[in-house]
Symmetry: C3
Subunit: 160 residues, 3 copies
């Protein structure tokens, strides 16, 4: 029996969290995850605050509600971009190969891909991926790894 991936999408953006702009990246990521059969169990918009980001990742991982948490935003060089640092606070086992593959594939499209500081890894049995904040960057990065997710998650949630 093939089990469905339960996914959470976290949009990290000060302005979207204050309602000053519409979040387009979160819905784009959710749509892309739905296309591989994932169930979106939650979608939230949070400010660029390290503690808050790490807190929501830990909440969804530790509650057993999510197999996959995908963030979009906060991976760049602006002073408030701290999603990778928050993610490192939350993960227990880093998966550098996923972040390397996202950047390498995205670099084929734009040299700016090298400026994404995104981190990937696992907390307990939940996989966490950081994507850039732009709709285009988020889609490109997720495309690079999306076909690997079912296998990675089935390993993570293995019993024994």
């Amino acid at each position: 029996m093939k089990t469905q991936i339960r996914a959470v999408v976290l949009t990290v953006s000060d302005s979207a969290s204050r309602g000053e702009r519409v979040d387009a990246s979160g819905p784009a990521v959710a749509e892309q995850l739905a296309s591989i059969g994932a169930e979106i169990v939650a979608a939230e918009i949070i400010a660029d605050e390290r503690g808050a980001i790490a807190g929501r990742i830990c909440h969804f991982a530790d509650s057993g509600l999510a197999d996959l948490i995908v963030t979009t935003g906060g991976t760049g060089f602006a002073p408030r971009d701290v999603t990778p640092e928050a993610t490192r606070d939350a993960i227990e086992r880093e998966a550098p190969g996923l972040a390397e593959l996202m950047r390498a594939e995205s670099l084929k499209i734009t040299p700016l891909a090298a400026l994404s500081r995104g981190v990937c890894g696992a907390r307990g049995r939940t996989l966490i991926l950081n994507l850039p904040g732009s709709v285009r960057g988020a889609r490109e990065n997720l495309s690079a790894v999306v076909r690997l997710l079912p296998h990675a998650i089935s390993l993570l949630t293995e019993t024994g």
Copy 2:
């Protein structure tokens, strides 16, 4: 005078350590290292225990018995896969370029290469490399860097 590399192969596997399956990857790695002229000074099979893995790496590095320690296994996403974390506990200086090159070369063969979480680095004058647990994955990853090892190790063991 060209000095011979003294290498240790550590197979990290719960089932092989309990004798429930034959370790094919350790011997395959040893054979590949012998083909570049390395002397295999020890080969051990250990369980997927972070403390035990780090302990054996530190033992072989600190005793001055090994110039190179190659692990196979425990680099994936299963809950017990903790070889990279154990290796980070043991190394003092990370060598990300070796891990990146292993994954990049292995990606040319299979997209699953992105799921290897392997780490490389030095503890004192000993180089440590993590390889995946499958015979094929271990061979492919080691092939990507094997010709660099004599130079890397000659730098590490430099006096002065």
Copy 3:
């Protein structure tokens, strides 16, 4: 208005710091940075000492004197090579994509590029890049990312 990048070049080398050899890499890096319009506000030669290297990076970042600090040397496997460790001590936000891109581009020229352990990242509003110590290696690595620097630094120094 386009603002000029204020850059510091730190040559990390025991022998050059003692005056036993002429530093060719520092001037080569400074020339390359000047060619993209950067102003070289300081160039120093320091020994391969972790505390001293981290101290100079923090000084130039925290004083607000530099938008960019580029080191050359100390990224390899020799026992005294500790520039990446010193840089990790100093940076607050790592930018792995820049280091990955430098190594990937340099690998197209020489397999030895995989032995560079260089780290990139930001401390406050200052970007720090590690380059290898050879003139050729330093130039090749910097070439891989130089066109991204104005954009990265404009993001880092954003107000608000």
